[in-house]
Amino acid sequence: MMDQVQSEGGPPEGADTGPASVAHRIAERRVGSRHALRRPLMGVPVLPDGRPDRARIVTGVTADLSHGGIGLEFEDGGRLPASEMIVGLRGPNETLQFAGVRVCRTEPMSAERFRVGCQFGGAGQDLLQSEILAPRFVPATMSYVLPYPEEILDAWCDAGVLQRVLADRVQLCPKCRSVASFRNGCRQCGSADVGNDRLIHHFACAHVGPISEFDTPSGLVCPKCRTRNLIINSDYEFVTGPYTCRRCQWGDMELEHVGQCLRCDFRFPGHQAHVHDLRGYRAYRLDPLAVLSSS
């Protein structure tokens, strides 16, 4: 759809100065039908290093909206501070929704007002991708890192475009802070090689013993009182014995939650794991169709 070109005419004279000067030479290429939409908006210029230019935040109104771009109107000076911006306008539920735009064309409307044609995309739109905003697991280091520099994302938070969120809470190795695997295991040595016995409790004589004691070729027979043909739940029940570690012979009724570091192999009780909050970011992205349908 974006291959089809719909030109909106050449740049106005004397309007091609400033960082957006290149933009007017690029024709705004929007194919989908444009819908008139007048809503207040804010625009945060994106600096070349990806940070927001908070000193030059501009305000204006939207002129129209289409699937691939947005038309904006500004009043002060007829100049835009940047060729790429993140614009925010109120969505259907009154939350500010943001979209990254590339300025394609500026056009004066009067002495103080000018119109800007933008396409969705550019560095601002890339920044708003969810893949960038959530921490990612790096197998080489067995740790979580953010794909984008954290200080830049924090700057966008301060500009009001992003919000800090708790992406996840992970338990890490207390020694090297790497990711660990967890399993139920022996409290003494941490081994997962544990098992427990099943015993039979014969109700009539109160004898409790391993199944092998009761198991005879003629069926289950109580070794204490010699009662034959025992029926489960009527004559006997199964009782689970304590877990026994096959490595260190430790016995216990309950297993310990044991962690093992995937990087340094350090084994530790689950409650000693380092609990780390993985910080992520959230952006409310502009959905043009939702905005249009609500208007």
């Binding site: 409290r187 015993l199 409790h201 109700f203 009539a204 004589c205 109160a206 004898h207 409790v208 013993g209 391993p210 070794p223 204490k224 009527s234 004559d235 029940e237 199964f238 009782v239 689970t240 014995g241 304590p242 016995g251 216990d252 009724m253 309950e254």
Partner: protein, 428 residues
């Protein structure tokens, strides 16, 4: 009144007074007071003899087998830690197994927390409430100790109690040893005071005498030590209430002796209300004399039985005589007395009361002679002039319980053990 009574007393011939007190002079006196007095005189003479000859030896702990203390507990989250703390660290070769009998409160959590902080403590769990016998038998599967000690979950041991209780097991003929059960809360109210005195007199001193005569028929479930090989021979505890008496009689049948360690002290809470006490005694009395001694283990008294021995016969005969014959005899006498209502009935009752108090005083002296802390026990014994009222209440309870058991086997409709097990087990 007292002057009238004195005149009444001296106006009768000694034979007439003797006829009034014949039961005390011929039955209760020799059994409970004079026998203990004789034992006390014998021990004192022996002590003096050894002291004069310079051969007096202080008791020493020389036997040190491996010991496993089994604590079976149901819904005891608040009481469990005290017995465990009193046991742990008091003996070198000690392991503790806590069996949670399907508790519905935080008992398992409390037990596991204790086990994590203390070495040699193991926690086991029954899937649902099954009673004490299977819980104890489950624990047997997980210990190799030479001696198994059963301990109630609301009891506390003195620091040398385990050492004391295992010493008699140095004799290979001894199969089980009973510890002394004493009141932890004797002065809470009159009911606990009565019970504390009863335990001091019957368990602490009474069992010294019975053990010496070789006719001790019970090792308390609250605190007793049992030889592991003996337990293995009989596959542990049997189902049913009063399982301590049942196990002791089975051990006697196997030919082993039952010993008593009077200075192996275990402190347990006495029941604080008459209602709770009567409920407990109804349960005990229904089971002990009729169900266990009169039905399940009655073969111990049959001369043609392979379980017959002189000592075993005396154990049962003594119980039947005092708990059945004397009890129904006293009941009959009481009815006769009420119907007949002799004109000098207040003097008769006062005479009987004074005679019984005098004999009780003998027992108090004996108890204080053997007591390791006479000052503490003297206070407990101070209730002795009134103990006969307590005994009278318990005798009525026993009368009701025994009659119920003889006629309708009431013990099998009690809520202990749980119904699914009660229905599956044998009704003796």
């Amino acid at each position: 009144m007292l002057t009238d009574w004195t005149h009444w007393l001296f106006s009768h011939h000694p034979e007439q007074i003797g006829a009034l007190l014949w039961a005390l002079l011929l039955i209760d006196g020799p059994r409970y007071a004079l026998s203990k007095l004789l034992m006390c005189v014998y021990d004192t003479s022996r002590e003096i003899w050894h002291w004069l000859r310079g051969t007096r030896e202080m008791p020493r702990f020389t036997y040190c087998p491996s010991v496993c203390v089994i604590v079976s507990v149901y819904n005891g989250e608040h009481d469990l830690e005290a017995p465990l703390r009193s046991v742990w660290g008091t003996y070198p070769k000690l392991e503790i197994i806590i069996v949670d009998d399907g508790s519905t409160d935080r008992t398992h959590e409390v037990a596991c927390r204790f086990a994590r902080c203390h070495e040699g403590v193991q926690v086991l769990r029954m899937p649902e409430r099954s009673g004490k016998s299977p819980a104890m038998n489950l624990a047997l599967q997980y210990t190799k100790a030479e001696v198994v000690i059963g301990l109630d979950a609301d009891a506390e041991l003195a620091s040398t109690a385990i050492w004391e209780v295992v010493q008699p097991l140095a004799d290979p003929q001894v199969g089980a040893v009973s510890g002394s059960i004493l009141g932890r809360n004797p002065f809470t109210n009159l009911v606990t005071w009565f019970q504390a005195y009863e335990f001091l007199n019957c368990v602490f001193v009474g069992r010294i005498l019975l053990a010496r005569l070789g006719i001790l028929g019970i090792a308390s479930g609250a605190f007793s030590a049992i030889r592991r090989t003996v337990l293995d021979m009989g596959y542990g505890w049997d189902e049913g209430s009063s399982l301590d008496l049942d196990l002791t009689l089975r051990i006697r049948k196997s030919g082993f002796k039952i010993a008593h360690a009077p200075y192996a002290e275990c402190y347990t809470d006495m029941l604080p209300t008459w209602k709770a006490l009567i409920k407990q005694r109804l349960r005990w009395d229904r089971t002990i004399t009729i169900r266990l001694q009169g039905r399940k283990h009655v073969d111990m008294a049959f001369i043609w039985s392979r379980n017959f021995r002189g000592g075993n016969f005396v154990v049962l005969a003594e119980s039947w005589f005092f708990s059945l014959f004397c009890m129904y005899g006293i009941a009959a006498w009481a009815i006769w007395f009420l119907v007949k209502c002799p004109p000098d009935w207040p003097y008769i009752l006062l005479t009987l009361y004074c005679a019984y108090v005098l004999f009780e005083l003998i027992q108090v002296v004996v108890a204080l002679y053997y007591s390791p802390s006479p000052r503490r026990d003297a206070l407990v014994c101070a209730v002795f002039p009134f103990i006969h009222f307590y005994h009278a209440v318990l005798m009525i309870v026993r009368l009701v319980a025994t009659t119920q058991e003889i006629l309708v086997r009431r013990s099998y409709s009690e809520p202990f053990p749980p119904e699914r097990i009660r229905n599956a087990t044998w009704h003796w």
